[in-house]
Point group: C2
């Protein structure tokens, strides 16, 4: 039915080998012959069959992307970043959402054999990360995203949650805050733990002797509300709350508004991620911006790096989040003048449906 390389060969009066060479630019072909072949191919509207090509050349020019989920801004940004690099290198993207379940993740990864040249995998929970060990064929190049490698031999990229949290605490301290509470994320989440660790370490470094105060949360807005309520109920409410992500920080804002507290007048609030909502709430949220698209792009670049460099075990690239100062803790209690505020370059709303 469809036109194959044989048809082109016959029509051009050459062997299929020559057609293959002419089309792929591999091996040498007499200029006149090449031109004739290309002409015929074009006339016949010939397109190589990719499965056949993949089978014999053992390259698919496709990379697999295995994600826990396809919900929300985080994943769309990640995909966009990966897609951008992929396009630039003529690669295709095979997308698979594993839905968090370890079994499904395994199936998704298995189905990649013979379909992709490498995979980008994100399994942010401990369970997902652990199950990776058995699923990832050792021969398949892979880069982990926001995922702790159970065996420590895969290259990975992630957000520097530790450094980001330290930077935020430093900022709060520099603004004059002394009683800085932290609302943590889920304990089985790597990022959440890194941010907590950053908070603790920087607090110890910047305000030695001041005890940390941590209220548990689960990254959801509601848990931020509950944490804020508990903080207010305590004997000595903090003068600043740093939440492990924006969703919880926004929960804090709501709780404080309800309690009649002025933010940042009575209490400052800071988040992490810079989700689109962050700049829209009142007051707008001070937060650490994470460039998610860059995270994806970085992962793919690492995957594409020639073996021996990136393939070296455990290479790690980390994306540094950026402090974005907005109204929710726009305040200076300290004697020294503050540096200029960072402008929040608001992402433009897209004009499409």
């Amino acid at each position: 039915m469809a036109v194959t390389i044989k048809d082109v060969a016959r029509e051009a009066g050459v062997s299929v080998a020559t057609v293959s060479r002419a089309i792929n630019g591999q091996g040498s072909v007499a200029p006149a012959v090449r031109e004739r072949v290309l002409d015929v191919a074009h006339r016949l509207d010939y397109t190589p069959h990719q499965a056949a090509r993949a089978l014999s050349s053992r390259r698919t020019h496709t990379i697999g992307v295995v994600l826990p989920d396809l919900h929300g801004e985080f994943f769309s940004e990640l995909i966009r970043g990966i897609g951008q690099v992929a396009r630039g290198r003529g690669l295709h993207m095979l997308l698979s959402s594993a839905h968090g379940d370890a079994g499904e993740q395994r199936v998704a990864l298995q189905a990649m054999r013979g379909r992709v040249d490498g995979v980008l995998v994100m399994a942010p929970t401990d369970e997902g990360a652990r199950s990776l060990a058995g699923c990832l064929a050792p021969a398949l190049p892979a880069v982990l995203i926001n995922t702790v490698d159970p065996e420590g031999r895969r290259p990975w990229v992630g957000v520097d949650g530790y450094g980001g949290a330290r930077a935020m605490v430093r900022h709060l301290v520099a603004s004059g805050h002394r009683a800085i509470a932290f609302v943590s994320g889920p304990g089985d989440n790597h990022d959440a733990r890194e941010r907590l660790r950053g908070y603790r370490d920087e607090l110890a470094a910047s305000l030695p002797g001041v005890a940390p105060r941590v209220e548990p949360g689960d990254f959801d807005e509601d848990s931020g509300i509950r944490a804020a309520t508990r903080l207010l109920d305590g004997d000595e409410p903090p003068d600043a709350v740093f939440a492990a992500n924006d969703a919880m920080a926004i929960g804090c804002l709501r709780a404080f508004a309800e309690a009649g507290l002025a933010v940042p007048g009575d209490i400052a609030v800071a988040g992490f991620d810079d989700i689109p909502l962050a700049r829209l709430v009142h007051p707008a949220l001070t937060t650490m911006r994470v460039d998610i698209a860059e995270l994806g792009a970085c992962a793919l670049r690492l995957l594409l790096q020639p073996a021996g460099s990136a393939d070296a075990e455990g290479v790690a690239r980390t994306i540094a989040p950026q402090l974005v100062v907005r109204g929710s803790c726009l305040r200076d209690r300290s004697p020294r003048p503050r540096a200029a505020l960072h402008a929040s370059t608001a992402p433009r709303e897209r004009g499409t449906p």
Copy 2:
């Protein structure tokens, strides 16, 4: 290197044909043999090579998704909807963003040969839609999304912009508005035209004799601001403005706020799409909600329909948008009491990174 079907056959003491049958569940295999084969396959950690499978079976169990872009909520929702159906049917998704350019779209479509069993294509501009004619191999099943089929023979799905616009105008009229202006979208965009057409027709039907008033826009917020300004400068400012999408409606809100007009007190504003921002602006925006994930899901279901039903030329499925009444035109000038307001089921903010 990797273990193949031959290895399994040898180890199990059967032919490769039997291994193939046992694994695929096609053709009959003695239960005892099947079990032995499956055992060996498991023990050897055998995974079929998909390219080989695709080449001989002529099925890839993959569907291609060709989009103009990967930016923003619209595409992430679309992908999510498609992905959901795909997962349910054991299909993979090959993602390609054509970046609006007709040439790139052609390349993307070509590269799909031998990689997918069918494609979902979105080319919302006239140029993109036109160029589709030459790129789509007639043998490749395809469903168009939000795209006018240049040849009218492909099944397609789209948003019922016409019906949605009529519903909104009907709502505005029922609320007592009489001078309803419309801010239109780009003239080369199919959706934009449908919404405009709905506005005109419903106005003619509901308020016979009242002349339509259309200010051009381009779907961007700024163009909404400009359109609103022009409307206010006219001799008889309208008492309601219906913008062809939310971004422009939000532009109108800003312009009116700046001009010192109360919304909805002095003038009502309505949009289309229900983007996440719509419920966060002040006042919250009355709009037509489009279920984009469902649009994607619907497209894939249509693609998967057995030939003869969906493959019938020009089958069309249309997603009906839903009226969401919020503060921006929460008002009743009419003598009759209004029905209960639609609750705005706000999408929950995700709690991850």
